[in-house]
Structures are given as C-alpha cells and as structure tokens.
C-alpha cells in the first residue's frame, strides 16, 4: 500500500528495527541516542493512534440487480 504518510505497519516495523539496532553489539553512543529519540517518537505516535476510540464505518449498498434482490 502506498500512502503519503507511513502506515501503522511500516511505523511498527521501523520501531522493531530501531529496537534491534539499539540492542546490537557495537552501538555508537551518539547514533544510539538519536535512534532512541526517533524510536520514542514513533512509539508515541503509534500509541496515539491506538488510543483512537471512534471507528469509521462506511456502508456501501449493493445496487439493485436484475433479480431484484435489494439488500
């Protein structure tokens, strides 16, 4: 799926990747701190989205077909 902003899945996977990097062997402290900040920001965003309460539901009605089966 191509979207303007990264999808939930993409963000989540990014977070996983950052976590693995920070758990890695040779982590440069400066790089690590930057990544950590990035990871924190992503986590915040994800949690914000998870806190959404109202689900958006749209209904698309089937058109009348020849058999006259309306829904």
């Amino acid at each position: 799926m191509t979207q303007k902003s990264p999808s939930f899945q993409q963000q989540f996977e990014k977070l996983e990747k950052i976590t693995e990097e920070l758990e890695g062997e040779n982590v440069d402290l400066d790089v690590g701190l930057k990544k950590f900040e990035e990871g924190l920001a992503i986590a915040q965003e994800l949690k914000k989205r998870l806190s959404q309460v109202e689900q958006k539901i749209e209904t698309i009605k089937e058109k009348f077909n020849h058999d006259n089966e309306a829904v």
Binding site: A43, K47, L50, E54, T59
Partner: protein, 410 residues
Amino acid sequence: MDDPIYSVSEFVDAMRIMLADMTVKVRGEVSNFHINQGRLVFFDLKDKASYVSCFMMAFTLDIALEEGMEIVVTASPSLFKKSGKFHLAIKKIELVGVGALQKEYERLRNQLEKEGLFDVSHKRSLPKFPEHLAVLTSLDSAALTDVKRVLANRWPLARVLVYATAVQGKVAIPGILRAIQWVNQEAEALDTVILTRGGGSLEDLQAFNSEDVCRAVFACKVPTVTGVGHERDETLVEYVADVRAATPSNAAELAVPHREDVRYVVDQLTDREIRGLQHTLYAEKERFRDLVNHIEQRIRLPADRIRTVLVNFPHAVARFVDRLKQITIDIQTFERDLSERVARKIDAEKNRVEHTKALLLSLSPLRVLERGYSVTVAENGHIVRNASQLSAGQKVSTTLAKGKFTSVVQ
C-alpha cells in the same frame, strides 16, 4: 365397425409399444427400495397423493438410493410383460433437494482440491495492522453486528467499509461476485477482506459453495478471511480463502489485533530500547574505565619501581657503608692477627735458633777443647789430623779452649 378384441398378451404388447417412445421426467420421493436377485431394482416414487412403481437393472444404477431421497427420474412408462403391471422404466436418476446439493458439494470440493485451490501455498497471511477493512455481508444480520462489535472493540483505528450484499441461497451469487469485483477494483486501498454470514442449511449456504464464488475468492487481490456460520458449518469458499475463521466474530478477531496487545508490545519495545541504550552507556563507561586503568597501570608500574628504589636506596647505602666498615674491621683484625702470628713465628724461630745454637754449642768442638783438646790447622787452613802430614819447619796454628798460638813443627 366392432372394436377390435385383443388377447391379453397382445394388449400388453400393444401398450408396451405405444408407450415405448415416451420419455418423461418425474420427481418424487424414494420408497420401498429393494434389489431382487442382486440385479433387479424396484422402488416406488411417491408424492403426497400418489405413488408409481419404478424398475431398472442394477448395473444401470449409479447412485446409492435411500429411503426418503428426493430424486428426478428420466423414464419411459411401461408394462411388465408378464404381469401387465404399469411402471416407469428408469433411464436416469438425478438427486435433487439436499441430496443434490450434497453431491454437487462433494464434486466441487474434489475438483477444486485437485486443481490446488485449497493448497496452503496459495494462502497469504493477513496484514498485521490493517487500516482499511472491507466487510462483505448482508446488512441487518447478526453476523455484521458481531463483526462490527469485535472490530470496534479490538481495533477502532481501522476504517471499515461494509459492502452490503445478499448472502442467502443461490440468488446471492451475483451480488457476492460483484462485491469481490469491487474489492479487486479497490485493492490498492484495502488491506483485508472479511466475507461472512451466519449459519444455515445447505440451501441457504449455496452461494458459499458455488464454483463461481470460490474461484472469485481464490483470485481475489486482497487477503480474505471467511467466517461462515458456526464451527461445524463448512462451506467450500472457506477453504479457498486465505484464512478460515470459525464464526463471524472469529473472522473479525483474526483480521485485526487487539490494540491493548499492540500497546503492550510498543511499550515493551520502548523498554528494550532503553535497556539497549543503558547497555551501550554502560559499555562506554566500561571502556572508559578500562582505558583509565590501562593508562594508570602504564604509569603506576614504573612509578612503583622508582618509589621502591627510592625507598630502598638509603638502606642499600647503609648496608654498603656497613659492609665497608666491616671490611675495614676485617682488615684490621687480619693485620693484627698477622702481626701476632708473625711475632709468634719469629719467637718460634728464635727459639728454634736458640735451641739449635744450644745444640750446636753442645756439639761444638769448642767444648771438646775445654776438655783440653786442641785443634791444629795448617797454613792452608786444613785441620791436621795426621802427624805424618806435617813436615819440619811447617807453621801450624793451634786453637785452645782459650786462645790460640802458632808453632813450628820440629
């Protein structure tokens, strides 16, 4: 003209010939089914008001008929030659009603399975965090209510598009096909499809066992999860779908995660990141400490040695001085000893000399002289022992105990 009079057998034959060209399809329920002598099949076909005998040879029977089965026979009316009894000579039997559906179900299942539509290799996994869901089902159904409830509870952040379509009976097929067509059109914008309906009879579920619907779901561009009826209901479309859920609610559960679970995982990831960073910090500190230790060691070792030397130096000096002193004393002692020994040696020698002198003296001829003897020496210095050696007028010297005199030999 009088009516012709037939004999019985002529009549029976005539009727048989007359009826032989007729072919009819009759629908009824099987009753009194039995096979005589292993080859002759007899049963009655009945409805509410009447029944008619049916006959066929066993080898032409290709369906296992059972009491109460609803069938449509293709047959020729006839009379038995011997008894004249009216019956239907059966050419073909078709199952209708539930039986037919059952057969069709089995036929289609075998075929689709053979074609590989059920293969696990074709099944896609559902997106973990779908944001756009399509639900294909009928409006105002318990299935839709269940699905909406479960989705709202677990994953309200997803957008849900309900494509309303009939799901009951054979007539639902075109609608469902259109729904899947729509899904394929919108495939770019959809993450997961839920195809669902409540439980029902084989007739109710016909659309979900139809070949067209099964093939459409198999070819659907978006991962699909089906939830039809109850766990025990098994429709063929469920086996071609990517995921088969037991019920509509279960389908919704499989389609989306629970946001609390995801929230928990996100928190866990954050914790892991913090710990990872802490380890890095700790490792840095360790490295730094090791470096400091290393440097310290490189300085400390020589420093210690210098210090040790400095501490020990006065002692070394003192010891050296002591040794010098000791050597001096030793030398002095040695000198003293030496003098003493020399003195003693000299004394010893002196004594020896004295002793020897005494000895000499005692053995000295002078002692003999004191006894009155004398020593006479010739002019050449030789001691005269023999008087015949002397000649007259020779001068000789005679030594007495006291003094000496010279004389001339007469």
